[in-house]
């Protein structure tokens, strides 16, 4: 039980410490230390879950089950590697004069607060607190995105705040309706919003209210996932913030939104019995994959391109969960894990590449392999992995999704084939000249920290070829639980 306090306590305490010491030289190391502390705490938590299954904490307010335990570890691990990556990155940014001490303070404190909100959202059992944590995560990332204070970052942050704020508000309305339906069944002594209680009693919830609630929740959390009609904030927010922020946004925050959506889907499936939730998710998921693929072919800014690639992958994941069934759910969970690993690895490589070339426009980055093979190869392997080339993990989950889609929803496969083809053509067409060919990029003073990149790619490769048994057991239990 106590490890959960550490898991949540360390980042909170870290953000407070960094508020005062954020601008000092050692701030970067402190940030890494706190992230490392969180990671150790989550590892202990995972060991606990492995040994004695799902556990409650603080009179059932917090709940760890197979669905969120691997996400917690993943969040803290990627948080740690991003912190390690942001050490050299921020030092170079400070030398370029883009990061003043004050902004560094905001960056470091908000970074830790952001990981606190994410861990809170994952571990909480209360749907209300889940909403509050999501809203808090949005607030912290707004500050992180606007940390450069340029016109573009301000615009991106403003749009991000307004669009996500409105979206999340719909989710609040959905939570209210959910609470209303729960109150009728569980009564009002405060346990009505706990997901486990709702889960046990979901059959008796009133279908009318739950349908409406799910509609609002779907639009709310769908905006945070970046499904297509509500995706407009995502490319601006992910492209304008500093690269570590983009990595964390693309890698982790989207997973949390999908996690929240899954929690609601489980309740709705139980209450309705009809696959309405699944069809909604499938429709919007497929739309996102196709539209994002076509967006990809018009990009000029490297970070915007990979932001759209995140939309495409989130669409694919939502489509997989929409299809339901043990294999598709399993594939969706695997895809979430591997996507966040590979996408953050790409953003690390992109970060260094953009710093070397001094620009984010892809036309000016050429011949990375000649200047620094590690950054070049990191970006090439990363983009190949994200495009679903084996032996990386993304291919494993795409394999499962496509083959089940072929038999269960054959109508969807031509769209998927078109989208994956166009996406591959677009992304690879731009990455290849950047990595190969004659170079115009100058070397950097500080050696880039590329351990995170290859650590992530190694894990992605491992997940493609061998999935550890306990992780596989979690995926199976979670897949059965999501059902549908």
């Amino acid at each position: 039980m106590t490890t959960l306090y550490f898991v949540l306590g360390i980042p909170l305490f870290g953000s407070m410490v960094l508020v005062f010491t954020g601008q000092r030289e050692a701030a970067r190391e402190i940030n890494v230390a706190f992230s490392f502390g969180t990671f150790v705490a989550t590892c202990l938590l995972t060991v606990e879950v492995i040994s004695n299954g799902p556990l409650f904490a603080w009179n059932r307010e917090f709940y760890i089950d197979p669905l969120n335990v691997f996400l917690v570890t993943l969040t803290s691990f990627v948080g740690l590697t991003t912190a390690i990556f942001s050490r050299p990155y921020m030092r170079i940014e400070r030398d370029h004069g883009k990061m003043t001490p004050r902004r560094l303070r905001v960056y470091h404190s908000m970074y830790q607060l952001f990981s606190f909100t994410m861990l809170l959202a994952l571990t909480t059992n209360n749907m209300g607190i889940l909403w509050v944590a999501m809203e808090a995560a949005t607030l912290t990332t707004v500050l992180l995105v606007s940390v450069y204070r340029t016109a573009a970052s301000l615009e991106a942050a403003w749009k991000y705040f307004i669009l996500c704020g409105v979206g999340i508000a719909q989710a609040l309305f959905g939570t209210v309706l959910l609470y209303m339906a729960a109150e009728k069944v569980i009564g009002t002594e405060g346990g009505a919003l706990l997901w486990t209680n709702l889960d046990t009693v979901k059959a008796q919830l009133d279908p009318g209210i739950i349908t409406l609630a799910f509609a609002f929740l779907f639009i709310g959390y769908g905006t945070k996932v970046g499904l297509v009609p509500m995706h407009n904030w995502l490319p601006d927010a992910h492209a304008e913030g500093p690269t570590p922020v983009s990595a964390v946004l693309s890698g982790l925050l989207l997973n949390i939104a999908v996690y929240a959506l899954l929690r609601c889907k489980v309740l709705t499936d139980g209450a309705l019995g009809s696959p309405l939730a699944g069809h909604l998710m499938m429709g919007f998921g497929l739309l996102s994959v196709v539209v994002a693929a076509f967006f990809l072919s018009r990009q000029k800014d490297i970070k915007r391109m990979f932001a759209y690639s995140s939309i495409e992958h989130m669409g694919l994941i939502t489509f997989a969960f929409g299809m339901g069934g043990p294999i598709a759910n399993y594939a969706g969970l695997l895809h979430m894990t591997v996507h966040s690993l590979i996408k953050s690895a790409i953003f690390f490589a992109v970060g260094h590449a953009t710093q070397k070339a001094g620009t984010q426009s892809m036309a000016d980055i050429r011949g990375l392999i000649k200047v620094s093979p590690t950054v070049g190869w990191g970006m090439m392997l990363g983009s190949l992995a994200i495009l679903g080339m084996p032996p990386f993990g993304v291919f494993a989950s795409e394999f499962l999704i496509l083959t089940t889609a072929m038999r269960e929803q054959p109508w969807a496969t031509p769209f998927l084939l078109l989208a994956l083809g166009v996406a591959f053509a677009a992304v690879f067409g731009r990455v290849q000249p950047m990595v190969f060919g004659e170079t115009s990029v100058k070397a950097l003073r500080h050696p880039p920290a590329l351990v995170p990149v290859f650590a992530h790619l190694g894990l992605g490769l491992m997940l493609g070829l061998y999935i550890p048994p306990y992780l596989d057991a979690w995926y199976r239990q979670a897949a059965r639980m999501i059902g549908g």
């Binding site: 403003w158 749009k159 307004i162 669009l163 409105v166 979206g167 349908t211 409406l212 799910f214 509609a215 609002f216 779907f218 639009i219 905006t223 009609p229 509500m230 407009n232 909604l280 539209v291 076509f294 967006f295 072919s297 018009r298 043990p326 392999i369 190949l384 080339m389 084996p390 032996p391 291919f395 494993a396 394999f399 499962l400 496509l402 083959t403 089940t404 889609a405 072929m406 038999r407 269960e408 496969t413 084939l417 994956l420 083809g421 166009v422 591959f424 053509a425 690879f428 067409g429 290849q432 000249p433 190969f436 060919g437 004659e438 493609g464 070829l465 061998y466 999935i467 048994p469 596989d472």
Partner: protein, 678 residues
């Protein structure tokens, strides 16, 4: 590590699959060793590549005597938890392993001598990609479940992509690599979907389960079309062939030898595995479609090969032609087995498998030959070569063997497979439907025309490069092939000759494969006819290559001796006859464009030609004709433009105005609420 199970597996039998996996692991280790010896060229060239070649030879040996044995299965613990990698060695995969082992042994030996100076990527990395490429090809042929197959299939595409873009400083090579990987990836998704159909909703992706599924004709046809699209994209059949003439020439020569010789065969393996093993109830119209596509590809390939100016593009187009012939043969086999004529199907399938083997050997020999020429002269354009038989006699004579085999001339392997294919066409008139009967002679005529045109192309290829006078000064001091290169070439020449002169023994190797796939084989009739290849009956048709060669050699020797004895052997050297015009020079020889001119004239509609004709007032008039491909203008460019337009249309979605974005989510909310209300 390997848990063998499946079938009554006696202890000695288990050895073959184990040896083969040993070879594959050895290749991977050599690759990893290459990474550590990144810059040390001599270590990589003198140790790693020969070791790779040796293991290729070992694979060749093991596959040779495992063709007859019963299938062995192995399961590796890696892969998805519910689906570990299954590997199965049956006669079909053993046959293809035979080819992979044989060709890779020769090409690796050649590569040991070829990579002299740094070519863009460090040699160690090249060794890694090269050996991963070999290992993945071998594993593709061994894979026994959809996931393992797909992982190995795309690793093969990925490693060959990195090899194609070895010296990525040249932009065209980057573009060729990009096109290649794009088409390969889309093809792979097609194959993935085909496996999705084949697993018929059971969720079990092993081939054993797919064999047990009885698919409805509709789903079987969907699987067929997807497999045709997927494997066709890798093989390079007509609408999907545009990447092949770009990618193969761009790769370093040993790699293009492996790609043309062996990688295209994995696509044929895929087609055979899906059509005959997994679907096992072919419909007749499948055969017709395959026949049509195969012929179109063959004719298209050979006509374009005849007009090429770059020697490696010429060979790439000739690979397309041979793939076309293979698809036509497979089409005929499907047609026969759809009508239940198993012995005829076995004959056609034997022709296909024989051509797979002989094409693998002679095409890699030709590519390796051009590699030696490229290294000695640094020139790829036929207009700048010529007269190399004097400065590079060894390479010239070796390439001559490859040229004769590729042209399908009697004593060599190319002719045997063409002979078997024409024989199978002759029995075709037994087909029940009269329309097909009418069609078969026309198809046989086209195949004969394609064979003859292949001869035309090969004469042009050999004549313009090796014979005549050198068109550039620097060609005179071109060095002949080095020691390792000669070893590699000698092995491949041996392969071509063996395939040409000992068809009976080789068909005995093919027999278990045809019995496994089509239920009948030529084995017994062929065995007891000794030196003569008699597919069906002696009075019906027979062909004895050994006697054939002996006949020609005997009359050669006899004529030579008699002339020396009866008359004399005096000889005098003088200037060639110049018909009274003393200033003859090398430029007056027939160029590659010239040699292709009749083909451009006769097969005009095939090409999209732009001519640059000089005006009368030009200071120095220049005539240039560029031969283009209709598919680019009528299929690929419109496709790209359509995607571009659609993308710009969708681009409007992100206009930048926040109120518009809010409107989108508002409308979506209302829409969802309306939908949900019902």
């Amino acid at each position: 590590m390997i848990a063998p199970h499946g079938g009554a597996v006696d202890p000695t039998r288990w050895l073959h699959l184990d040896w083969i996996l040993l070879v594959i692991v050895a290749w991977l280790l050599i690759g990893v060793a290459g990474v550590f010896a990144l810059r040390r060229l001599t270590l990589v060239a003198r140790v790693l590549f020969p070791a790779g070649g040796a293991f290729g030879l070992l694979l060749f040996g093991v596959a040779l005597n495992s063709v007859w044995s019963s299938p062995a299965v192995a399961v590796l613990p890696i892969g998805l938890p519910s689906l570990p990698f299954h590997f199965r060695l049956d006669s079909l995969s053993a046959f293809f392993l035979l080819i992979i082992g044989g060709v890779s042994a020769g090409v690796s030996a050649f590569a040991a001598g070829y990579f002299r100076k740094g070519e863009g990527t460090p040699p160690g990395l090249l060794a890694l990609e090269y050996h991963v490429f070999l290992a993945s090809m071998a594993l593709v042929v061994l894979a026994d479940d959809a996931y393992a197959f797909m992982v190995m299939w795309e690793t093969m595409a990925l490693s060959s992509f990195f090899l194609v873009t070895a010296n990525h400083r040249i932009v065209e090579i980057q573009r060729a690599g990009y096109l290649y990987l794009l088409v390969a990836h889309i093809g792979a998704i097609g194959i993935l979907l085909c496996f999705g159909v084949l697993q018929a909703n059971t969720g079990d992706y092993t081939f054993a389960n797919m064999r047990a599924q009885a698919l409805s004709p509709f789903w079987a046809s969907v699987a067929f079309l997807l497999a045709l699209f997927g494997f066709g994209a890798k093989a390079g059949i007509v609408p999907l062939h545009v990447w092949l003439p770009e990618a193969h020439p761009a790769a370093p020569s040993p790699v293009s030898a492996l790609m043309s010789g062996v990688m295209l065969k994995t696509a044929i393996y895929g087609v055979l595995r899906v059509f005959f093993d997994l679907l096992h109830t072919p419909l007749w119209w499948w055969g017709l479609l395959l026949l049509a596509i195969g012929l179109a590809t063959a004719l298209f390939g050979v006509v374009f090969a005849a007009v090429q100016v770059d020697m490696k593009r010429l060979l790439a187009y000739s690979s397309i032609e041979n793939i076309g012939l293979l698809f036509a043969g497979i089409g005929l086999t499907v047609l026969f087995s759809a009508y239940g004529m198993q012995p005829m199907a076995a004959l056609a399938l034997t022709a296909v498998l024989y051509h797979v083997a002989s094409h693998a050997f002679f095409k890699s020999l030709l590519f390796v030959g051009t590699g030696a020429v490229l290294h000695a002269t640094g020139e790829r354009n036929l207009g700048k070569l010529g007269g190399l038989i004097r400065s590079m006699p060894w390479v010239a004579w070796v390439t001559l063997v490859g040229v004769l085999a590729s042209a399908g001339l009697p004593p060599l392997g190319g002719f045997v497979s063409e002979w078997l294919l024409l024989q199978s066409f002759l029995f075709a008139p037994g087909l029940p439907s009269s329309v097909l009967d009418m069609l078969i002679p026309v198809v046989a005529a086209l195949i004969a025309l394609v064979g003859a045109l292949a001869g035309y192309t090969m004469v042009k290829f050999f004549g313009v490069i090796f014979l005549g006078q050198p068109r550039e000064e620097k060609l005179v001091q071109a060095r002949d092939a080095g020691g390792w290169e000669r070893l590699g070439m000698a092995w491949l020449v041996g392969g071509c000759l063996a395939l040409g002169l000992f068809p009976v023994q080789f068909i005995a190797l093919i027999d278990p494969v045809t019995t496994a796939l089509v239920g009948a084989g030529l084995g017994e009739t062929v065995d007891d006819s000794g030196w003569l290849l008699v597919p069906v009956a002696i009075e019906r048709s027979s062909y004895g290559p050994a006697i054939f060669l002996l006949g020609v050699a005997a009359s050669f020797a006899l004529a030579f001796l008699l002339v020396r004895v009866l008359y004399h052997g005096r000889l005098r050297r003088a200037a060639p006859w110049d018909c009274g015009y003393p200033w003859q020079n090398a430029r007056m020889q027939d160029t590659a464009e010239g040699f292709g001119q009749p083909i451009r004239q006769i097969f005009e509609p095939f090409f999209r030609m732009e001519r640059e004709l000089p005006t009368p007032f030009d200071a120095e008039p220049r005539y240039r004709v560029s031969v283009g491909d209709h598919f680019w203008r009528w299929l690929y460019l419109p496709l790209a433009r359509a995607i571009e337009r659609l993308a710009s249309l969708i681009g409007l979605l992100q206009q930048g105005r926040i109120s518009v974005y809010l409107l989108y989510s508002f409308v979506t909310l209302i829409a969802v609420l309306v939908v949900v209300k019902q």
